[in-house]
Symmetry: C2
Subunit: 352 residues, 2 copies
Amino acid sequence: MIEKLNIVPFVSVDHMMKLVLTIGVERFLVELADEIEADFRRWEMFDKTPRVASHSREGVIELMPTSDGEVYGFKYVNGHPKNTREGRQTVTAFGVLADVGTGYPVLLTEMTILTALRTAATSALAAKFLAPKNARTMAIIGNGAQAEFQALAFKAMLGIDRLRLYDIDRAASAKCVRNLAGMGLDLAVCTSIEEAMEGAEIVTTVTADKQNATILTDNMVGSGIHINAVGGDCPGKTELHPDILRRSDIFVEYPPQTRIEGEIQQLLPDHPVTELWQVIAEKATGRRDARQITLFDSVGFAIEDFSALRYVKRQIARTGLYEELDLLADPDEPRDLFGMLLRAQAATPTAA
Amino acid sequence: MIEKLNIVPFVSVDHMMKLVLTIGVERFLVELADEIEADFRRWEMFDKTPRVASHSREGVIELMPTSDGEVYGFKYVNGHPKNTREGRQTVTAFGVLADVGTGYPVLLTEMTILTALRTAATSALAAKFLAPKNARTMAIIGNGAQAEFQALAFKAMLGIDRLRLYDIDRAASAKCVRNLAGMGLDLAVCTSIEEAMEGAEIVTTVTADKQNATILTDNMVGSGIHINAVGGDCPGKTELHPDILRRSDIFVEYPPQTRIEGEIQQLLPDHPVTELWQVIAEKATGRRDARQITLFDSVGFAIEDFSALRYVKRQIARTGLYEELDLLADPDEPRDLFGMLLRAQAATPTAA
């Protein structure tokens, strides 16, 4: 969409919000899940690597690259649970698409909002293949920044219309109720996890503490349920008692990463898991029967971000919701980078 | 320098050129080399990892992260030798600094120009410890985008005032002569590599083809010379005949990366090399005598980019040469990312 070689389209937070609102949150989630599903079907075409993590006492900073041989994408993302106490986000992110043929970036975008959307879209996509048929009730344990996105993704893609909310901080549940009011969801705020689980066919766990927690214990999990485990996503950070894992059929994104970061870090390294892409590509079975416990051990994988970046790139070309960033040096003669500097000096004598 | 949590300072190509010209190219190179030297002295404090490379037929896209425990930095950089035939840069780059404590990015900057500067600054820094004392003459084999930066770094830091230029494309040498005219350098354009090497105490090889080339053969290299080998920097891309390597004392940035990417990929994996930081920190010997051939097998390492990013961050705070980028989602209540979207909708009813 752009001819000037120095320019990279940039999607600011403001433009991303406008884009999401222009498309509509639910339609955005559905279309994004379609994009992720299409990329998961061609999973074998992608370069895959566990993300490159830099851990510190307070959190983690990660780079998540992937490529399908024509397009390269990566995301920068942090995870700092203590940030909320200082008025900051636990997770912030931005991402880049580039052309493999030239190595030139072709998109830079905020990805804090986009990550929230792609995480929810991936959860609902997994549930489409794994959750009990005709499920209508979902418990959401942990009502922070990700909760509403999960709610709307499951509503739009699975027809979930009853939510049972629980958070150790009641204000978080109240925030969810406020934000989701009038969107066609029946909302119940619960005072315990047990209460939230009553009648739920799907349970989403999405808490944020960086520690091994036991949000769900074995006795809370009845047969036939689908567990969408989103919050356990880095070493030492899990949400489920290992006994639940042993009773479940476990589905993961990319095993080499999930065995380090997911709930299954609590299991032996050879514990059997099924790759979600294989279920989507009809190379493996998803839900087999009504009594089976299915578990999507979600940690987030680079291909989901790649799908999201490509979706956004198409949508900004259509809507014009971006600005032009002067990011790439573009001398008239490509070998004359220094000459470009000299000519800039000649053009602005006061800068010398 | 900035209070708004959503804002990341951004240095465009235009601002980077203004910054370099305001400071002056030579002073910028000297101060940048000082910054790199200071970081090399505290080398052991850094998280180090070989860069994360995505190779394709046409080139490579790399992410180069590092951290000193307080500040995290990474660079995105490509290398596509065929790009120049399409009017594009072989190498483009941008970089990010982030606060380890919060994970929040604190700087986004173009790094195409900055990489050219830091590569030259690192070369001259290495030569300060390795080249023969009082050297005045340098041959530069390969007169592309990096050549003038190397010339000025060696002039400013070592007092090199005679350059012998050679390129298979005579127009590239002519461009160098044009750009360096009037800067206090005695410039000779040579018609062969042998001619360029005459009287040179230092030779810089900085060609761009992605292949194993033999820019220098053994008979061209006399005793006492310092070789600054810059162009061999990815697997299958080298410039020197292996016999030269066997006669030289070899100095490298980070052995696990250089053994994959540098000239020494042609040698056995246990061939002895000295880490440059150890020479700088006085833990290893640099040049021992006047007859020794020293070789800096430069591939570029993440810590050099980290130093460059920190230097730029300080300089833009001083000069104001940056703009504010709305990159980070910053809801009033950190857990209320979805509510921020809703409030954006309320604020711009036409976007709904």
